[in-house]
Symmetry: C3
Subunit: 159 residues, 3 copies
């Protein structure tokens, strides 16, 4: 079964590009392709209209750990949306390589891996244990853009 | 027009390697080349004598956002200085791939993308929209070395 | 002299995989190989039984800088343990490329490079100045998983 079919089977829809306030400029590529690699910019959790998903704030105070997990899952969907727009077909991703998971962490909140599992679990569910396997870090940042709870950067191999 | 000519046309000079206090050791390569990739260490904003540029501190309290933007632009020039010393010629960079922008963020300061635009804008001005396109993250760190306001790590493709 | 022989000559033993609390899931690869690259997940300092090494906490308050240096050295040993398990032989690493050193930094603690030197020094001692050379960043995170004092992510070229 290909990735698009799995997305459909799971009832998942990918969001459009992020909608930002008019005074903000983001002069970079959401996905940068070079040879057989795609470099993926730091992505945010989005609603299906492209707006940054709520709640905003720090995991461990403004968000529960379950809400943090959900934000990381939404961020994976944002990344998949960008990959589909750039690559044309999510099956061109032959291997996930690196996921760098950044949590907007409340002071003393250290269960960062469980939050970023929201991304890893979805990638593994869609791509399976071989193509979906990835190196990962899950760390707590002091601040993230627009006060989003999770930001994720990644790198994949492509055909 | 090549990159050196564009730098000259813009009146820009690249700084020498960073000058650090004698008790600090930095036992790594500012640029590490492997095959057609160059991995660029986290760089600081520098003055033309190689000293860390002032002001130091956190963007959003010690520095205004405009000063943060300028620090990110100076950091791009530091990176270009290291690339020229390692590669011999800035035109060997065929594609910018990844810019990881780290801001020394005051509590509650979240306009991190606007700060790192100081780097992205200069790279795009010099390399144009195709060679200069890059994936990017812009995030808020708790502390940076020597209390610099911005640190930027990057990866480029080279000929 | 090969890397295993150097480890033995230095009297160094590599730890087993990290032992974590049963309620924590880490659904990712400690090392992800693709072509001639190995992507290394964020690693923690470990004891020889695989448990997270003590002391935990923030460098600059809970740990001295010397203890932070030792934590970074232990983290390098954790990474080497994962590389040996994945690659079979540490001599398959032909070049270190990128070390991303993350310090759990107490407020105002900025001597992050000296902490991460604990990793860089060991890699250079083992692999020498050519194979061991690497690009590096050393930065202060707000929180790290399980309150570890240091986490290090890396990328290497392999034969």
């Amino acid at each position: 079964m290909d990735i698009e079919a799995r997305l459909a089977a799971l009832g998942l829809t990918l969001p459009p590009p992020v909608v930002i306030a008019p005074h903000i400029r983001l002069p970079f590529a959401f996905v940068r392709v070079s040879g057989n690699r795609a470099y993926i910019s730091g992505h945010a959790p989005l609603d299906l209209d492209g707006r940054v998903a709520r709640p905003l704030g720090k995991v461990g105070s403004d968000l529960t750990i379950e809400q943090g997990y959900e934000a990381a899952r939404l961020t994976a969907l944002s990344i998949l949306g960008s990959l589909r727009r750039t690559l044309g077909d999510l099956d061109r991703v032959t291997s996930w390589l690196r996921i760098f998971g950044m949590v907007n962490a409340a002071p003393g909140f250290t269960d960062l891996p469980t939050v970023i599992n929201g991304c890893s679990d979805l990638i593994l569910e869609l791509y399976g244990p071989e193509r979906g396997a990835h190196a990962r870090s899950a760390v707590g940042l002091a601040e993230l853009p627009f006060n989003i709870p999770v930001e994720i950067e990644a790198e994949v191999a492509i055909a």
